[in-house]
């Protein structure tokens, strides 16, 4: 078992963002989480990545309780995420951003003397991830100078550079053009089976092209979970979620 979530609850004032969430995700499985706006998908990801502490319940990752672990610990035990709202280091170049991630998981950073420019392997690895997400040509541009879609691609490169065993992706394709999102779907399809992935996504075609299993969140509760095709066919899901979307 890669990820085991038990009885997770989180409320903001009167809003139940997570309501008794139970979920098991197997090693190297790709699990999609779908649900209408405001149903608690991002809040769930935030709890899994240590940014929000749940009110009650537990989260185990590979048998280790990470419910209250600080977010900086996660990267080192193999858990990485991308943000729905792009969060990169704007005045740094794209390659510097990815190097920042690669540096984090290659030993400690209490090194005060050796210039980072001499760490060739960090740069090479960063360039490889940029190439994978299709940003090789703009690797030297500052993050604030590239398009919104390109920053979304950068998010993914940074998450991958942490070399995770569990990758949490919060609407990774949102805000990308058709060509870029096609490329990312292809990239994720290539990673499928090599690491555990939790994918929050609105684009149903992408979701069901990638996911082995899926869960549907409505008002903080999981109303259906199981193999992706079954979840898709579930009449309650059709009504509650898919119907809702096309209403």
């Amino acid at each position: 078992m890669s990820l085991a979530i038990r009885n997770l609850n989180k409320s903001f004032g009167g809003i139940m963002a997570s309501s008794d969430v139970n979920l098991d995700i197997e090693e190297n499985e790709t699990h999609a989480i779908v649900g209408p706006n405001g149903s608690g998908k991002t809040t769930l990801i935030a709890q899994l990545s240590g940014i929000i502490v749940p009110d009650s319940g537990t989260i185990h990752f590979n048998g280790v309780d990470i419910t209250r672990a600080p977010s900086h610990r996660h990267a080192h035990i193999g858990l990485a995420r991308s943000f729905q709202i792009t969060s990169v280091i704007m005045p740094m170049t794209l390659v510097e951003n990815v190097m920042m991630a690669a540096q984090s998981v290659s030993g400690h950073s209490f090194r005060f003397w050796r210039p980072i420019s001499l760490e060739r392997d960090l740069r090479e690895r960063a360039m490889q991830y940029l190439e994978d997400v299709g940003l090789k040509d703009v690797s030297g541009s500052e993050a604030r100078a590239v398009s919104h879609g390109q920053r979304r691609q950068l998010e993914i490169a940074m998450a991958l550079a942490l070399n995770p065993r569990l990758l949490l992706l919060d609407e990774p394709m949102a805000g990308m053009g058709k060509r870029e999102s096609g490329r990312i779907v292809e990239l994720l399809a290539g990673l499928k089976g090599k690491m555990t992935m939790v994918l929050v996504e609105h684009d149903m075609d992408a979701v069901f092209a990638l996911a082995d299993t899926a869960s549907v969140l409505v008002d903080g509760s999981i109303i259906a979970t199981g193999p992706a095709a079954e979840v898709r066919a579930n009449p309650e899901v059709q009504r509650a979620y898919l119907g809702d979307l096309h209403a």
Binding site: P70, Q103, R111, I116
Partner: protein
């Protein structure tokens, strides 16, 4: 816009400043101008303090309103042993660094849990606590301070009583600190510090325990400021709690902002202009505070990025013509 050409010109500005500082003492001795020699020595010593503040403020985004506390601690590290007849410069310097690192770690451990305006207020509060501690120490002169009768001794290696030796020592220490900072900000550690300044939550989720990195940076900066205080105590033969007052910390912030934050050499220019202008204006009119304040506001408002930013802007304009 080609970024390479204008940069060479700003190197020219700093190079000129460097040569000027290097060549000044013999000229000033020859012209018998000890006053200006003193002024430039102060520029060098306070440049070290301003540069150390630049490390946390400019690179790390930690706006401390208590930085003068470190300078004061450094100066008391000379004054108090001297009061007991201990003049070893090695010991003074050792105490200065140890005391500042300790003070930085203890206070930083608390301030760095806060952010923004809270951080500013808590650094201020700790510095004022230290200020009042020294005000209450009757043994060490309370708010009258302590006279330092003799400058630190370096086993006959350096005679600090010679103004030229103290001057070049200050210059050497400044160069050393800047060299060290230059290595630091391009190292792994430095990149993390800069990353934290721009997006701390993101750095955390990338796996950095940002608190520890900031604390280490805070201690390094405090130690550098302590060294500057060691030199300042020697230079003025005197220390009083007033040196730790928050207005002194405010002046240090101004020197950094005036020069340009987050630019390695800019605080040296900021300190030089700050002290020279203070001198010139106060000789020229009794209302100099007003003029000085006006000038500082103008620089901050119109020259975003301080004097460094201003020079760069002019260069760019010349270049595009």
């Amino acid at each position: 816009m080609k970024p390479s050409a204008p940069r060479r010109v700003s190197w020219g500005v700093y190079g000129t400043l460097f040569l000027f500082l290097l060549a000044a003492p013999p000229v000033l001795v020859w012209a018998d101008q000890p006053f200006y020699m003193d002024l430039l020595t102060r520029v060098l010593i306070l440049s070290i303090a301003a540069s150390s503040l630049n490390l946390i403020l400019g690179y790390g985004g930690m706006i401390s309103l208590g930085h003068a506390a470190f300078v004061g601690l450094g100066a008391y590290s000379v004054a108090i042993p001297s009061y007991y007849g201990i003049y070893s410069g090695y010991l003074h310097l050792g105490i200065a660094i140890a005391a500042c690192v300790l003070f930085a770690l203890v206070t930083g451990a608390i301030c760095l849990r806060t952010r923004g305006v809270y951080f500013i207020m808590i650094t201020l509060a700790f510095a004022q606590m230290l200020y009042f501690t020294f005000v209450s120490l009757e043994e060490y002169g309370a708010d009258d301070g302590l006279l330092i009768y003799q400058r630190s001794e370096f086993s006959g290696l350096l005679n600090l009583e010679n103004p030229g030796v103290l001057y070049y020592l200050a210059m050497g220490v400044l160069a050393g600190c800047l060299g060290l900072m230059n290595r630091l900000i391009h190292s792994r550690f430095g990149r993390v510090i800069v990353g934290i300044r721009h997006n701390e939550p993101r750095m955390q989720s990338l796996g950095y325990n940002t608190y520890r990195y900031k604390l280490a940076c805070y201690a390094i900066s405090g130690a550098m400021a302590g060294i500057s205080g060691f030199l300042l105590g020697n230079f003025t033969y005197f220390i009083s709690p007033e040196m730790m007052d928050w207005t002194r910390s405010g002046e240090l912030i101004f020197m950094v902002v005036l020069g340009g934050t987050g630019v390695l050499l800019a605080p040296v220019a900021g300190t030089a202009v700050f002290l020279l202008l203070e001198e010139i204006l106060s000789a020229f009119t009794v209302y100099w505070h007003l003029l000085f304040g006006g000038f500082l506001i103008a620089i901050v408002l119109f020259g975003r990025g301080g004097l460094h930013g201003l020079v760069e802007k002019l260069e760019r304009r010349n270049h595009s013509r």
